[in-house]
């Protein structure tokens, strides 16, 4: 193998590693959004949850010294934002998209404001599991550093799919999302179900934020998120509201996001910004390529009906 080949192999490994690292926030936010949308509501505010979660997680980790407490704090902030979203949306004639955008701006602004004192200090980070400590290839070693949160998310995806199919609660969420009339005829509390689904979805998005600040890229700054929370919404559509496909899609997007840095690491610097745009370009291409009536027919009925 000549040096060139090794370089490209390293790029490949870095993209794989990046897929889990860059993809984890996508995964949590998209699972959260999937849960919320299954109940018949769209929460565009998850970008706000993500950033608030990142800030709160970092702050709590710094204050208490425990990154896991940080993760829970991040989830809790997301939960509260989800609660506010659901509470506003169940008022008559309130539109969930508008509320979502407002909460996104609120969450981002609040996080920047409250996070000012957190830019300097360095909080304890989440630890990773080194799966490749046997190897002397540094690229491979860093690619196979897997964070527990990614594992949790990767297990959560099939668990959520199972939950939707096999539990009473999962069926209730789907019924509410499919048809108001059917849900009412069954005596389900539509607003209650949506409230819980939105709160749980918000929790997951918050946890995704903690991953950003407590693991990768790590630290707290105002440029920490680059719109992952919004892209995750597109990702849910691409995944056709299927949690397992959310996992695949997140890995795909994560890999695309890791492409720029990976190329830079082997010295390909021309077009750096272009490669950084890969996830966004990918979003557009995939949305167009996969848009068909099939996508619409998988859409929760109450969303498709409007």
């Amino acid at each position: 193998m000549n040096a060139d080949d090794i370089q490209w192999l390293n790029v490949f490994i870095a993209v794989l590693g990046g897929a889990t690292r860059v993809g984890t926030p996508f995964l949590f936010v998209s699972l959260g959004e999937c849960l919320t949308e299954k109940s018949g509501r769209i929460n565009l505010g998850l970008e706000g949850n993500l950033i608030m979660g990142a800030m709160a997680g970092y702050g709590i980790s710094w204050l208490t010294g425990s990154p896991w407490l940080g993760v829970f704090a991040a989830g809790a902030t997301g939960l509260v934002l989800g609660f506010i979203h659901a509470l506003l949306c169940q008022q008559p004639r309130v539109n969930d998209i508008a509320v979502g955008i407002a909460l996104m701006i609120l969450g981002t602004g609040l996080a920047f404001f409250l996070g000012k004192p957190l830019i300097q200090p360095s909080a304890p980070k989440l630890a990773a599991v080194h799966l490749a400590s046997w190897s002397d290839n540094p690229a491979l070693r860093s690619a196979l550093e897997i964070n527990i949160l990614f594992v949790v998310g990767a297990l959560l995806a099939p668990a959520m799919a199972w939950f939707f199919k096999n539990t009473r609660w999962g069926l209730a969420i789907r019924t509410v999302g499919e048809s108001d009339d059917a849900a009412r005829a069954m005596g389900l509390d539509i607003n209650g179900v949506r409230m819980l689904a939105t709160m749980a979805g918000g929790f997951l998005a918050g946890v995704g934020g903690a991953f950003l600040s407590l693991y990768y890229p790590g630290g707290w700054s105002e440029g920490l998120s680059s719109g992952q929370g919004l892209m995750a919404v597109a990702l849910v559509i691409f995944a056709r509201w299927d949690p397992i496909r959310c996992l695949y899609a997140s890995l795909l997007f994560g890999g695309a996001g890791a492409l720029g840095p990976a190329l830079q690491s082997v010295g390909v610097t021309s077009g750096y910004y272009l490669f950084n745009a890969a996830p966004y370009a990918l979003t557009l291409v995939l949305m167009i390529a996969t848009s068909s009536t099939k996508v619409r027919s998988r859409m929760p009925g109450t969303l498709a009906a409007r």
Binding site: K165, N166, T167, R168, W169, L171, R174, T175, E178, S179, D181, A182, R184, A185, M186, G187, L188, S297, R298, P300, G301
Partner: protein, 508 residues
């Protein structure tokens, strides 16, 4: 088994300005079928929705057995053993038949064992009047199949009081007999009390024990079915004697073929052939009837004709020109169409009655000028239509989804029959209409024919087809399998072909 199962006392309900129910009372006995009659918009659906807690009545109470019960939402009704089949289906479209059946059960276990549920339901399904594929997604079922599913769903729940809001509107008479016969049997055997809303006197006479009549939200009276004649019942419904006379069939001048379908093939949502190699022609001044059991390709055929579904083979010609269902063509040929389930397939339920009625003409003067809608003109137009077709309430500003089932049908028919259609495709036009409205719509279809329109009438009501059509085709499994004329029509032979038994001795 006697005794009262359920009693509603002085129930009132108001929607805005409209008093939909005004102190209505009703007594339901155990072990029998009680029919609830009334014109479209009389308040029948509203009354039963108040009983099951879907609506909260403004006043009045519901007694169950001897005790007063507070039923404040459908879950309470479930728990008390009251089941209801709604007039507009309440199935979950993106779920399978099995999931819908399981979902309906109160007190589901937290974790559902699908294998066990499937076996249990398949077992009990064997004793049901009809079978359904458990794994089919509900949005692929035709209207008749959905209706059967709704009924099975309630029967599987072992309810003590069963409320049926027009349960047979999309079933064939044979199927209806089977269903109602079984239900009556169950009532006699188990003491089940049944409250059935219907517009078909035949069903009242054959299956009901008692009948209650409502008129414009008021209680008119209750009788033993054996003690009243059909004439008396219809008089109670409309408040005067009914003098409906069918419009005569005029010998129409030969106008040439207006609608020609040639070797048409259409796929259903899952890509399987729904209509195969179907050819037919309709001349001006002629009604061609297509009889068939729902789910044999009628829905797809109508959707293709309305431009809502692509075809995969063959062609449609209108006035000799190739037709693709585009808006320009619809307007140019005055091609009008009424699909089944119009609330879902031909209207936007949250838009107002005026907007829905304007769909056909909103982009032409005088309803819009220079691309701007003229609300007042559209409103005036809608007012004319609903006055002409007696849509009630005569308010064009409310969402069309708030109209009673029969009034939605009337409103959409008004839109499609107005303005002298040249080619008219109608599917189950009298679904859910009361008898005065049926007579009226039949007369209008006949008038359109006499005026030279080519009418394709797709209906599951064989009597309707025999009454109206000039030629009759039978559709089964997406193919036209039999052709006859109303003079030569033998319902038994047609029934055999509808059921797909073409090789039987009755066949030609």
């Amino acid at each position: 088994m006697t005794g009262l199962a359920l009693e509603a006392i002085n129930v009132s309900k108001r929607f805005g300005d409209l008093q939909a129910l005004d102190r209505v009372s009703l007594k339901l006995k155990k072990g029998g079928i009680h029919a609830l009659l009334g014109e479209n918009g009389a308040g029948k659906s509203t009354l039963v929705k108040c009983i099951v807690g879907f609506y909260t009545p403004d006043e009045g109470e519901v007694l169950l057995g001897e005790h007063q019960q507070l039923i404040s939402n459908p879950r309470d009704a479930h728990d008390l053993g009251i089941g209801m089949v709604y007039q507009h289906f309440t199935l979950v479209p993106n779920m399978t038949v099995l999931e819908n059946l399981v979902l309906a059960r109160p007190r589901l276990p937290s974790i559902i064992d699908w294998n066990k549920e499937r076996m249990a339901i398949a077992e009990r399904m064997k004793g049901m009047p009809f079978q359904l594929p458990l794994d089919a997604p509900v949005n692929h079922l035709a209207a008749g199949e959905k209706q059967k599913l709704e009924i099975i769903k309630q029967l599987l729940l072992d309810v003590k009081v069963l409320i049926l809001d027009e349960p047979t509107s999309v079933l064939t008479p044979d199927e209806a007999d089977e269903v109602l016969g079984q239900i009556k049997d169950m009532a006699r055997r188990t003491g089940l009390a049944v409250l059935m809303i219907t517009h078909k006197f035949r069903e009242v006479v054959l299956y009901a024990d008692d009948v209650t009549v409502l008129r414009r939200g008021r209680y008119v009276g209750s009788e033993r079915v054996g003690d009243v004649s059909v004439e008396k019942m219809s008089e109670m419904m409309v408040g005067r004697e009914f003098s409906g006379t069918a419009l005569a069939r005029e010998p129409a001048a030969d106008q040439g073929v207006k609608l020609a379908i040639d070797a048409l093939t259409i796929e259903d949502d899952s890509g399987l052939p729904a209509v195969s190699n179907l050819s037919l022609t309709v001349k001006g001044g002629e009604i061609v009837g297509i009889a068939g059991v729902s789910g044999n390709g009628q829905r797809e055929l109508v959707e293709a004709l309305a431009g809502q579904r692509p075809t995969t083979g063959g062609e449609i010609r209108v006035m000799g020109e190739r037709y693709r269902g585009e808006r320009q063509e619809l307007l140019r040929h005055r091609f009008h169409c009424l699909p089944e389930e119009p609330l879902r397939n031909a209207s936007v339920s949250r838009m107002s009655v005026a907007e829905n009625l304007g769909f056909r003409c909103f982009d032409r003067p005088p309803h819009s000028i220079g691309g701007f809608l003229r609300r007042r003109a559209i409103n005036a137009y809608a007012q004319r239509l609903i006055a002409e077709f007696k849509v009630s309430p005569a308010n064009t500003a409310i969402p069309i989804g708030n109209l009673s089932g029969g009034n939605v049908q009337r409103a959409i028919l008004a839109r499609e029959l107005w303005d002298q259609p040249n080619v008219l495709v109608v599917a189950n036009p009298c679904f859910g209409l009361d008898f005065t409205a049926v007579a009226e719509i039949h007369a209008r279809l006949m008038a359109a024919r006499n005026a030279g329109a080519a009418v394709l009438l797709i209906s599951e009501d064989l009597d309707e087809i025999i009454e109206l059509a000039d030629r009759i085709d039978v559709i089964s499994d997406g193919r036209l399998v039999y052709e006859t004329t109303p003079q030569a029509a033998d319902p038994i032979v047609i029934g055999h072909h509808m059921a797909g038994h073409a090789g039987e001795p009755h066949a030609h």
